[in-house]
Symmetry: D2
Subunit: 359 residues, 4 copies
């Protein structure tokens, strides 16, 4: 990965970076992952994205989850951990700690409480500081639905030149913007990831090299299939599959799946793209108790942790958890102030899946 | 076009509808247009889109422009005219009048002043009334940057079943939404058109069958080329070209080109996609005076009118006009309250073209 | 009114300008109006505000309404007519025409379709042009709920220096902004009017000298009373009354009352502040047919026209019309695309009035 | 305070609650504070409002600051501490801890990261849980500029009935909403506080009983004077003073003042209304080192801590700190990611003070 610190940190594996054709600049050496169950390709996990309920966890809980996922995951699976906090100092410290407990790379959400002052200059300063001090590569994370803030394109372009900043997860859904970021960072070794399954196909079409898709927690094999169809140029089939995933994705967007009551976290996805490898059926699962947090437990398919990180526009984290239950995984309760779905909401959620043939 | 009134109104030609493969449901019989100059395929023109400054024209001026463009255009070119007004009654009347002066189809923008009351029900009522009474097919037009209002997906789906509503120009740029509209109208003969060159490739990728792109006024051949690359599956080259068009497109978005001082209107694009056929060089042009409006004149390349309709996010109509001047066309002054660009704005505008190799 | 053209146009009467104390700079000579019915003070009418459905009328209808209201109104009642259009040229022409049919002053809403280009410079240009050419004084009109655009404070300050611009109707509800405008125009003869009954008391408190309140169409006497309480320093009673008016005001905001099917327009308010003088009970009414528009009719209480212009945040024009019916006036149907209220909406509307003791 | 737990927690002193007249329902028994320095009336302090940079502090730092301010403040000064966190559980724990270190009441900001799911029901659940478990009274805190979220009026009304929820700091600036909240909670012992000096006068006019105003950190005496003018019915003078405070207030809004590099926090204001008692001149100050946080120090006027908590719309926390330096206090550096002002920003900031006669 050129001047990026790939050798040390295995940046190449943040996702199973792929591009539209094997010869494009974005093609990665493949980072062969031991195929997931049923032959699905699984690259790794994202922990503590927005759907991981990270703002609702204590610092120690955040580290606990990363540590547990690391232990439950084979070494050839990448572990991308969300380490963003409001202050620069806290983000630096959290990133360091997450690296210590086994994260392969850090995904850093934009600070947002003082959004009125979060100019490009302030954000560049923030990320530069974090990346300077982080022992692991940094992935930028822009999720305006939660933060009310888009990481400005000019800031992304500047930051893409930092040797320890390797990509961006863009959950905003503006494909023109995504295309522009790809274009303006084309001379950097910088990876643009679609932040939702809703525009995964379009993201690939304009040059994204992967996705981090919460929907993979429930329809993992389908998200994997969508990726493969894009990569192999089967656009017509890809289009049909993409279409059927939009409503389910919208329905379960904006949250994490959590073990146990208290709404913990976790989730990830195969590859930086969550869900590029988690089959939805026939997964013999086992529950792995989290020791230090009494009562917690992570649902873990054999040799891998369950995945997730989804930004639902409608039912959010409660919706994601509910569908995980439906699909035979463990969603579990939300952590307050998030509330469970009402019966009417649950009905509407189910409809988004049944009307597209997934339930 | 099934139960749509295609025979009478040639709806199929609203754009040179194309899809990703010749066998898909969206494929149209090709509606062969006499190739534009230099072999570019030109389908027709859009008059009185947002870049046509339609809200700044009087009713008689709006009709005058349509009439003039009709006269200046060969019959095998489609003429799509923007007939939207705030009131349902006025829209019906304007649509009727535009049909009388030669429009082949009507593009109807959402009413927006009372946006707080523009529920799906109100909008369905509005469009149904217009479509019921219109002698020509109706194309929905959603352009939230100007109207502050998205035509809701459920309203689009309902309206797609109307026999005289044949498609939508969606300028919002939310490709997830565009994909969902394509998906949910897949059983209708309903055409989804990308409303800007900024997301034309992504639009095709998720099932749009054309575009109405203001950028075609200045980079018409390039927009045509982008379409062809998409249609022939040359996605890698398409991606590169798309990337270079994003900044110029953004720079000149949101207005029309107008003949003469007073900022009139016009513009269109080859095909419903403006600009699928307007070469940028070597176009021998001639000025065609508008009789009834002293001093007006339309810049008309031999046998065709110049095109346009662009939603610029930065310099808008003044930016579009300025670049048209640069490219050898006639942009002309804006109509107040629109103002000319400042020198600094002009400089920034130029940069967006030069940095991408277009000037 | 100093250098303003008050002598000619009676600007002082645009509203019964008042200030908190008789000695402040804002005090006007009182412009004694012949008290409205039942002793209520009535200053005049506003025609074609947002609640007048002006965007839904044709140009000739707009003039017709002004003309009719002028004829139905005694000369000592001020007639303030909304003459704004999207283009500067059309606004100039409409203002001229309205002056010809009897308007005493023109209220000019900000153009908004090209809001992305409506910089302070563009808006200053627009209003300056209109004011330069208008034979009657101009009142600025900022109503972001409809236009998506606030007339910037710096533009207001600059425009306040124009000899033919005499005030602003600010419907945005940001009382900090209203106070700042009062402060920065304090050396001009410039009148700031609260654009809604929801913040009329607060407006007076920070220096506004009147209001244009749609609620006066149904609770005119109460709005008059609120004004008097503010003017006489009875703030405690004023506060109680203000509180009871907030929900009804919110419920009926954003539209006009219209005679006849087709939703015409009109409405006004006593004084530039609508409703400073329209009693709500015991008004013997008579219908006055509009000649040129078959079927139209204006409900006219003896010797005065009914009032209105209200920006409802919830039920808008349909809500205002419905409540007018309840109060014994003629609200009538809306003009499409506005739709009638659903039974559930009507129920909620009624609740906002009954829970505050007005029905 | 009726059924509220005032006896135990001295809720009455959260602010020096006052109303427009001594006989109104809002009148409090006066809670006489020992007059601040120079005779200014000082009610107490708010620590960890938005200007206290609370999201940028660690949990232990937040407690440290509260503890220090408590120690530096005489017992007859109220200490209101911001204890809000994203999760309900963390908020409960922080509130408990703040009570233990001496806070008299807790101010709880709305959680906001998952704003898409923060329905009235979720927020009611959150605040009820916190208030149930808090040993000290709770003040709701709505600050949409930072959170992108208004605490819905219906939720406020429901929560006002909780025996341990005593009021709301509303920083949104919508005076219609503030009036409605006062109206609908009039039968509760519930105190509405204006969250900014920009609309303090208007707030009093519609029934607010105090304010929490960051501007008091630099123009404390003036904010006190504004309160007194409102309370004594000198509305004309109040209006003039209010006008001169709007621009300075806007300029320094949205942040805290912090001692030492690292940007700590603190600030408050006299009374729940910050600044009702902090004179701006001639304050002999002394720096009080914070022991546990090496290098920290709080600027403390004799026997009291400096005040603040201001929501600047333009220069935010950096602007507030800078003006504190100008006025002879200690503002100090911001904590990252907040950045210092640029020279141009500093110039504009100064202009807002000089043009109103404060510098």
């Amino acid at each position: 990965m050129g001047r990026k610190r790939v050798t040390n940190y295995g940046v190449g594996e943040v996702g199973r970076w792929v591009s539209l054709t094997p010869t494009s600049r974005l093609f990665r050496r493949g980072w062969k992952v031991s195929a997931g169950c049923d032959g699905a390709s699984l690259a790794g996990f994202v922990v503590q994205g927005s759907n991981g309920e990270f703002p609702l966890l204590t610092s120690s809980e955040r580290l606990e989850v990363v540590s547990r996922v690391r232990q439950a995951t084979s070494k050839d699976k990448l572990l991308l951990a969300g380490s963003g906090c409001e202050s620069t100092q806290a983000t630096v410290e959290m990133t360091l700690s997450m690296a210590q407990v086994g994260a392969d790379a850090a995904m850093v959400v934009t600070p947002c409480y003082y959004r009125g002052r979060m100019s490009s200059a302030a954000l560049i300063h923030h990320y530069t500081k974090v990346a300077d001090l982080s022992p692991i590569p940094v992935v930028l994370y822009s999720v305006p639905a939660n933060t009310g803030l888009d990481l400005p394109v000019d800031a992304v372009v500047t930051l893409s030149q930092h040797p320890n900043i390797v990509g961006i997860k863009d959950s905003g859904g503006d494909v023109t913007r995504i295309g522009l970021i790809v274009h303006k960072t084309r001379r950097q070794d910088f990876h643009v990831l679609a932040g939702s399954a809703g525009f995964l196909l379009a993201g690939y079409a304009v040059g994204a090299v992967g996705g981090i898709c919460a929907l993979a927690n429930v329809l993992g094999a389908q998200v994997c299939q969508l990726e493969r169809l894009c990569l192999t140029g089967q656009w017509e089939d890809a289009q049909k599959l993409q279409h059927r995933l939009i409503e389910p994705n919208t329905a379960v967007s904006s949250q994490p799946l959590a073990p146990k009551s208290g709404g913990v976290c976790v989730l990830i996805g195969a590859g930086a793209r969550e869900g590029t490898g988690v089959p939805t059926q026939a997964l013999p699962c086992q529950k792995v108790p989290l020791e230090n947090i009494p009562g917690w437990e992570l649902l873990v398919p054999p040799q891998k942790i369950l995945t997730s990180d989804k930004v639902t526009r409608r039912f959010g984290i409660p919706g994601l958890k509910k569908t995980m239950d439906w699909f035979g995984y463990y969603g579990g309760p939300c952590r307050a102030p998030l509330q469970e779905l009402s019966p009417a909401e649950e009905e509407a959620l189910r409809m988004d899946f049944t009307s597209n043939g997934w339930l």
